[in-house]
Amino acid sequence: MTIVGLRLFEHIHGHLGWLSTLALFHPALLLRSRPRRALLAATLATVLVTLTGLIGVCLYPAYRTLLKPGIFVLSPAVGGAFERKEHLAMAVVVLAWVGLIAHVAQCRERELAPRLARVAFVAYAGAAVLATASAGLGLAVAVFRSF
């Protein structure tokens, strides 16, 4: 991929990252107190965060070869921040899927719906908090240096 393409996808990844962070807070807020149906919000948030993660996975090899060495030379702290962001993002995607599956089960189940809603809430709340940290760290690194 050319530098222009990388830059374009980096911007898309960054904007989608913040959008999916906000989207993850929506099911977390809806499910915080009692079992409710929030299938559309949960599905959209999970799909959005997965798409953002996939773009990040595609960009990571180019980041490793083109940007990472320079960033670590100039500022190891910023390089470390980017590494942290990547690890947190992996957990965000997994937690979002755990939340979605628990929420789908909650919508189909009457007896254990409160327990399933609680699992979905914890998963989405955890994903939202980690996504905020990940997006913040990513923004800090992008301000420092980008493609």
Binding site: V57, G80, R84, A91, V94, I101, R108, L112, R115, V122
Partner: protein, 119 residues
Amino acid sequence: MLSRVSEVSYARGVDRVSGLRAGALTRRLASLSALAGTSFLYAYMVLHALHVAGIDPKFVQLLSAVPLFATCGASVLAGSLFGVLCHFAGLDHGKILLRMPKLLALSVVLFTLEILFFP
């Protein structure tokens, strides 16, 4: 008239049984996916700690040349394997779902602490 009533009650019974089966299946799926997700986090923590210590297991290195992808792939495998094992272990999914929110929250906190202090 009687046969009509029995047909309706039979159809309702079938609906109820299929509904219960579908509910049990989704409940089990949710419980197993939550267990798999939690074990993904723990596996990731262990593999990341090993990577930081400079001891990458051979099977992890074989998955990908990029350590991040290798760790993630191995953790997904470990989580899925744990989920499959739990499926065959005949666990009480109601009890698991009762404890899962606290377990999941604890896992997220531990994962975050490890990543923040040992990137």
